[in-house]
């Protein structure tokens, strides 16, 4: 159930039987010379929506931009400052919590979001704690994140079919998912040089570009295809649902 495709009475009904919701969070940032800028946002949203559909879970609108300052030397990349993203997640959650949602599974598409996302949860916990200390109504808010690309089975699949050339940015895994989701948008990977991108730590955006001149980290995009994407999609959805069930089952 997508919240954006529900009416308010439908959400009210849903809350009678569940306090859980899935929130996609992505990023709009370069994914190498052949990967699409929306990869992280679109993959996370697709996995979340399909998980919601399969299990009747409410899915909030996705956060389409993330924390991606290190990609800003590549055209089209966007980023929130961490302080902005904290405010965004805080408002996203606070609004939903006002209606009664209490368990939030974030389906995340971008590694760079993780620290700020967790910081946002802490910021919310601080605010709740202080309100409670002042005699306000407490809230039992709980958060979890499923980084779809890092699920055990997803990783196992990628290791098996892509090996080390899966890479760590603009990976074969996420590019495959995009081939599956947007089959008409696949840019050619012919002529990529080098075929497998270099691997190296990076610091700020200028440093990133210096050590990763075309934006890829360690990946060979020519290995990606829609068949792998379809299989990965199914695994990622299953793993997201597993994470959701664990969150809901906690006492």
């Amino acid at each position: 159930m997508r919240l954006q495709l529900s009416t308010w009475p439908q959400v009210e009904d849903y809350l009678e039987s569940s306090r859980g919701i899935i929130v996609p969070i992505g990023s709009t940032e370069q994914h190498g010379p052949t990967g699409l800028l929306g990869t992280d946002a679109l993959c996370a949203e697709a996995v979340a929506v399909e998980a919601g559909k399969r299990a009747g879970i409410m899915v909030a609108p996705g956060i389409p931009v993330g924390m991606a300052v290190h990609h800003m030397t590549f055209a089209g990349s966007m980023t929130f400052r961490p302080s902005t993203l904290i405010a965004v997640v805080r408002d996203w959650v606070t609004g939903l919590a006002a209606h009664g949602f209490e368990r939030f599974l974030f389906v995340n598409g971008h590694g760079g979001n993780i620290p700020t996302l967790q910081s946002a949860w802490y910021e919310i916990h601080c605010e709740t704690r202080e309100a409670t200390d002042r005699g306000g109504k407490g809230r039992d808010l709980r958060f979890a994140v499923q980084n779809w690309w890092a699920g055990t089975q997803v990783k196992a699949y990628c290791d098996e079919v892509f090996g080390p050339a899966d890479g760590s940015h603009a990976t074969c895994g996420e590019l495959s998912l995009m081939h599956f989701l947007y089959p008409d948008e696949a840019p050619t990977t012919a002529g990529l040089e080098p075929r497998v991108a270099p691997t190296s730590a990076y610091h700020d955006a200028e440093h990133f570009r210096r050590v990763h001149p075309d934006g890829r980290m360690g990946s060979d995009p020519s290995l990606a295809n829609a068949d792998h994407g379809g299989r990965l999609f199914d695994i990622a959805v299953t793993e997201a649902l597993g994470r959701y069930e664990t969150l809901m089952a906690e006492e």
Copy 2:
């Protein structure tokens, strides 16, 4: 051209010939007992994407949540605090401006966004001005908004076919557009009571709910349908393109 479905070299190419971009901004808020919560976000995004497609204009990812505090007494409604939305628009624009975008047409789906959106532009102008005063590189950023539902031709069409029962929230116009865009999601409007919702000014969310108990303002959703939606979509896209051309033509 959707930025999220482009690669960074494609964005770099685009910037060779144009400095303009369209940014959809919506809201996720109740639209009466039969309207979908995502109406404002999904309509704005659809109009923007189609406009971009027709005229080869880059379209940024849409802002899916807006300033909708007055709807917060209805389940599922979300809102940014204005201060958060200002930061969001500021980061959205600043990131794109870093790559060279200088003309921003916001295609807006929600009246409640307008003041805060304009405030955000002023906040950006303040920041630019102060940087320039300190000797920093200036930026000639220009902003405009097309409230798709308020275009001359869109309004004329709605006046003609819906008359006063178009209403001012959960309007027949926007509900028709949603019927057109999401034909499978249309909840029944049978049994709405009263058929035409009351019209009244409102202040905060509690007041809104008191004077508009089911969330509609002045509208009769039973008049909405996909045929009208298709026609309105086409008009709205045309008007958005007109506004974009004006913005780009200004000296």
Copy 3:
């Protein structure tokens, strides 16, 4: 009744019988080569104070600086960043609301303030809403704005006596009001070139100066005088009182 010229017991008494207050909000910004920088602040304050006097309404101290970034290329112009102005209005209102004021009519002297002023109201509504959600005491705060220059009768008068040369910045209407209020401060308008200033849209402060080199927009200040000002003052006060009555009468 000016709050600043009242004692605290007098304010306490006033609150026994009324929850309404008028808040002037202006701007300190260039008004063309002959208009005074304080025009928007001083006109708004004068209209508000006179309205309060006539009808026994409490009048808060005025906000003397507004959102005027687009005037910053002219010496002496001042501006709040929107984020600051939101905090200012928020503190202004929150302090007064702590004592029991609940209906706020802002008498505004500057068009550029409107979006940020409304954003500030929304920010306050968000804060109130969240406090209520946490079990805090609700507040039924209501806000309205009277843009004194845009009242129906004020506009009718200006249309009649100034015609199109009233302009849209440094207008004959506001300059006349200043002649009436500050008869000794009137700079000569002799030799203005062109007599009627150009009209054109603008974006940031540099653009404004380029298209409006002396600061005026469309006006011919030589048409302004104290007699018109006196008449406009009376009309503006009457219209402000009408707006206040409507606000107080709302259920």
Copy 4:
């Protein structure tokens, strides 16, 4: 010269020969059962304006509300949070500095403003310093404050004529100045009980009210009158001018 009663070319002319400006800063807060809420704002503004008039110094619009949280248990008192007041002073100064003002004498009417006012200066210095570190154009901004009631001669006069019953809040000195400035607004001081208010340290607003039940601290308002006020006004203006000259003469 009041900036609000100048045109932008007049300010431009002024800046040819001077970089100095006087900024009044006051407060709107209870001044005991007979003192006017605007005492601190109106006294500071009057002293500043007269000083400007005598010596041809530009005077900015005054900040009418200050940091007065400890007075908030008395009806009509207003306060900025310190964080807001810092932003206000920062924008006030930054706007004026953009035009070339570099020396700011604040004529202050309220002791509670001092720490936050100084913090605001430091905040501005931090911002300037960081901009300079990044290669931005430096600014030689200098700030000073004249607390009009605390000038050597003002204090000597008050000590002589009022003795200890001058008090430390709602003092005979400031009430006298208000009698002089607003002779028609003087509430009677007959029947004040006790005639001389208690003196005691205070912490927050509730504590203040407990130890100072009618709002006065140590003063006997019946000693105040317009004659003393007129004399104090003259002394305060002279001392403010002396402080301004010192500021301008510093290397």
Copy 5:
């Protein structure tokens, strides 16, 4: 009792019998060519810890960086922006207040901290006041500061033994305290030129360096030694305890 060297049950026990706590606040900033950068932080912490030890008072961890923007032209100096320091003090206090601490004596080592520290207290009072206005649980928080170097007896001692060459920054008094606390770290003062540093007002960091080229203000560090430091330490601790007792005794 140092809070950092206590267990949580020990703190819980302490709160059974006392609501008071001492908070050291210092600065890390240049102290002339021979003074250590940590002087203000280390002196304040030492005085606070010893006071806590003598009288069984809980001592919070110290704030090691303060507001010292005017020292930033000397290598190694650090500063909080005032807005950051306000947030720091606010969180420091709010966390401790959540457990029941209500009386806070700040033992301060740096004059430049005073305005911002007081602003932070006001910010906390504003927050408490607003929470109470909304029906939240009130808090009777009280703050005081002991500037160790400015206690009556400390000053008397320094006047007597150092005379005017004590100076006002990198003073003989604080340098002596550091000699006593860190006897192995004493840099030589041989060859200082001039022996007694100049005295002069300053504005921003560049101005400070211009008028105080080696960082000292008015002091002759060669007069400082560990014996004086030991005596001053004892006096400062005694005065801090006196101030604490006064705070606790207030009704």
Copy 6:
């Protein structure tokens, strides 16, 4: 070399040959019924200072409070809101960077700090990036963190000597380090019930206390002692130096 025990000329000299600095960051939070509240801050600071001493690296003052909201239901625990901690780290780094420091190794004592610390680095990178985009002087700032308890050799040692009863909060490892550093402060662990604390995930502070009633997570503090602490200290210092060398060697 501790920065706080250096003079400004010494720091200036240091910067001639190195751009690297170590910054300790800890937390003040409950460490079970027998662990000291300052464990995370004091361990991090000690490891950092010793590392600096051994290798002649400058060590900044430590940040004594961290992000520890989940411990706030235990007396004496303190926390920064993430937004405050981001500002703190930002000011800490910005001040040092102004003097020329460019490589920052944070020696961290608290797992809960990690996301916010990383968010702070991103916030700084955003600020630097935007300044550069505006033409400002770039900065090649690089950050790394050494979580002393999580170094490969530290973990190996703890696994070997403590096994699973090392736990994950108030661990035998960190308690041992505190025994070593503060041998006189060791509270008895006799009678702890259960001897090995339960292990469980947690969400907010109330949940934490419910599942970890005495504050420990999985540890048996009776296994900790000063001998193990001494050995761990040495290993942790060695690993921190290794991490520093890697950071400095990166191109």
